[in-house]
């Protein structure tokens, strides 16, 4: 129905290689988000699936059929553009009906389909309006309406929410997730906003420089980033990195020494022969605690942001003044230029080798904390 496979997909513009070999399988009904920094090729990849960009080499299959040379409409996809791309001279009704008019569908069925789409998207009262008379959120819904009316098997979204304001974006995120469960369709969604990626995706594809950096569920990416890039990209504020030296390495854990001499045992699967090597320790800002922890770090806060729910301290660490961010409780006793002692736990830390590849962490990947389930049951 809506199954998509990519095999060694490449894209070059002249001598510049933009997509450097993508292999990806997307099952029917999945909500997959392509995420990455500007210029990583995520939009290009989406446009290649859509049929708006030529595929230089490799193969894209939809429902087991090679679609490399097919025009968009024959691929069974539909797409929502960042700029909405509504037809300004047509009413909302005609905008939604456009794909069906192209097909020369019978009037009665066309009308029924448009009504159904507009009901799903709550656009019934707007059908007679022109796009220029609509708000940003409504225009976005019209664009989605035009995509769903043809009932394709794969939906493509190219940063559809980036033109909306923050509140509307949050609403539309929820609506899109609902739509996904209602339509039972495959959705591929491109964004640079990791909140959108984390909240909506069944699976996230992190792209970096035309290559897949990691594919996984949102929590997998958060808890088990495969490399430094993903670790730094997923999470906000981003993960702190400190240079460390490996003291001992075993399958059940690795002990590292920080530059100030403090030692920390991490619950990651070590590899043999790591002793004495320079590694990178990663710790998320939200995993720093005031007091407690396996090791105390001394930071010098430079800027403090108090958000009420939490306090964000932008600090520097050690004699190199490595930037270091900490997310603390709302009332945490932090002050600018007053040394701050924070604890880190070895079980929260990530460890990366010199090539930036992560050591596998020993954490259970469940959405729900088992201890809390037990509490709720009793």
């Amino acid at each position: 129905m809506g199954q998509l496979n990519m095999r060694a997909v490449h894209k070059t513009y002249g001598t510049m290689e933009v997509i450097k070999g993508i292999d990806l399988d997307i099952a029917h009904g999945e909500f997959v988000v392509f995420v990455g920094p500007s210029g990583c090729g995520k939009s290009t990849l989406l446009r290649m699936i859509a049929g708006l960009e030529e595929i230089t080499s490799g193969e894209v299959q939809i429902d087991g059929k090679r679609v490399n040379d097919l025009p968009p409409v024959k691929r069974g996809i539909s797409m929502v553009f960042q700029s909405y791309a509504l037809y300004p001279h047509m009413s909302v009704y005609e905008n939604i009906a456009f794909p069906l008019r192209v097909e020369k569908m019978k009037k009665a069925e066309l009308d029924a389909r448009v009504r159904r789409a507009s009901a799903i998207l709550k656009l019934d009262e707007r059908l007679g309006h022109k796009p220029g008379q609509l708000s940003g959120g409504q225009r976005q819904r019209v664009a989605i309406g035009r995509a769903i009316v043809r009932e394709p098997s794969v939906f493509l979204f190219d940063e559809p929410l980036s033109n909306l304001d923050a509140a509307l974006r949050a609403d539309m995120r929820v609506e899109l997730s609902k739509l996904h469960s209602e339509l039972d369709a495959t959705m591929i969604y491109v964004t640079h906003d990791q909140v959108e990626a984390m909240t909506m995706a069944d699976r996230i594809v992190v792209l970096d420089g035309g290559l897949i950096s990691q594919v996984g569920s949102p929590l997998e990416l958060y808890h088990k980033p495969a490399n430094l890039f993903v670790a730094g990209f997923i999470g906000n504020p981003k993960m702190n990195f400190l240079p460390v030296v490996c003291e001992s390495s075993g399958l059940d854990g690795v002990t590292v020494r920080l530059e100030d001499g403090g030692k920390l045992r991490l619950s990651v699967a070590g590899r043999p022969g790591m002793e004495g090597q320079k590694l990178t320790l990663g710790i998320r800002p939200e995993h720093l605690t005031t007091g407690g922890g396996d090791l105390q770090l001394t930071l010098l806060p430079r800027v403090i942001e108090r958000l009420g729910m939490q306090t964000v301290a932008y600090a520097s660490y050690g004699k190199d003044e490595t930037p270091f961010t900490a997310v603390l409780a709302g009332s945490a006793p932090a002050a600018v230029n007053q040394p701050l002692h924070l604890g880190i736990a070895g079980s929260d830390c990530h460890l990366f080798d010199r090539d930036g590849v992560a050591f596998e962490r020993d954490v259970a990947l469940t959405d729900l904390d088992p201890t809390q389930l037990l509490q709720a049951a009793s």
């Binding site: 859509a50 708006l52 968009p72 791309a85 037809y87 192209v102």
Partner: protein, 280 residues
């Protein structure tokens, strides 16, 4: 932007504007005054604005002295309209292609179009005459329309191309994803969206066609019934004298269609020429 001028700056600005307007409008005023005067009041020395016996008589007598006048006016209008319609049929698809597709020689061709504009039609009138003669097309409407169309196309393409380039390509991509072909997209999406630009091109083409027809009619046509107004006006040139007042009256009535067109459509011209200049 805030503009604050001192009073004497305003005086200077309006003086300048007034001077320009006098310069541009003086021929029209004189034409109108002449059309009102009796023939013997025309050459009075010293010059007087108001002469004795001014009336609108010329506007009535001209239809009698040149019985086919209405026919010449219709011919003028018909030729200009035909040039506009045929011109647009070539200009719209061509400028769409020039604005969207990458192809070899695109820029060279655009350069050639510009070069064609620099050659006056008068230079080519003799070779064109030979062509028309060989094809047996002399003394037809076609002989006056075809060269007109050829000369308005390059300007039209330049004008419309720059307008089409401002239409976001996402619009076409959306239509492509929705299953529409190139032609369907052009007709259903691009042309409606580009309507203000097309109007500008249509109006400039019409005015250009109205102005240029004199030369083609004079050379390629000798059938009286087919003559456009500028040639028809020669009938007011008698053997002994020129009927100036009726000539001017006929000229003013002749430019009326263009004038009206301009008044009604000028909002499109202003909107079209400035559209997209500032992001709204």
């Amino acid at each position: 932007m805030i503009d604050r001028y001192r009073w004497w700056e305003y005086v200077l600005i309006y003086l300048g504007l007034g001077l320009l307007l006098v310069f541009v409008l003086a021929p029209f005023v004189e034409a109108f005054l002449v059309s009102l005067r009796p023939l013997d009041g025309l050459f009075s020395i010293p010059y007087r604005f108001v002469t004795e016996g001014m009336s609108f008589d010329a506007y009535f007598t001209m239809w009698k002295s040149v019985p086919l006048l209405w026919r010449y006016m219709l011919n003028s209008f018909f030729i200009a309209a035909a040039v506009t319609v045929l011109g647009l049929m070539a200009i719209i698809p061509a400028s769409y292609a020039f604005s969207r597709f990458e192809f070899k020689g695109r820029n060279v061709m655009m350069g050639c179009f510009l070069a064609v504009n620099m050659v006056s039609g008068a230079v080519l009138i003799i070779p064109l005459y030979k062509v028309m003669q060989n094809l047996g097309l002399l003394n037809t409407y076609f002989a006056m329309i075809a060269p007109g169309v050829a000369f308005v196309i390059p300007t039209g393409i330049w004008l419309l191309r720059s307008y089409l380039m401002k239409i976001p390509p996402e619009l076409e991509e959306a239509a492509l994803v929705d299953g529409a072909g190139r032609l369907y997209t052009l007709v259903r999406v691009i042309i409606p969206v580009a309507m203000p630009g097309i109007m500008v091109v249509a109006i400039t083409t019409f005015i250009a066609a109205y102005a240029q027809q004199f030369l083609y009619a004079l050379t390629f046509n000798s059938v009286n019934e087919l003559n456009p107004l500028p040639v028809g006006l020669y009938q007011f040139f008698g053997r002994q004298h020129v009927v100036w007042n009726e000539l001017m009256a006929a000229s003013l009535v002749g430019i009326l269609p263009v004038l009206l067109l301009y008044v009604f459509l000028q909002k499109y011209i202003v909107a079209g020429l400035t559209a997209g200049a500032v992001k709204s």
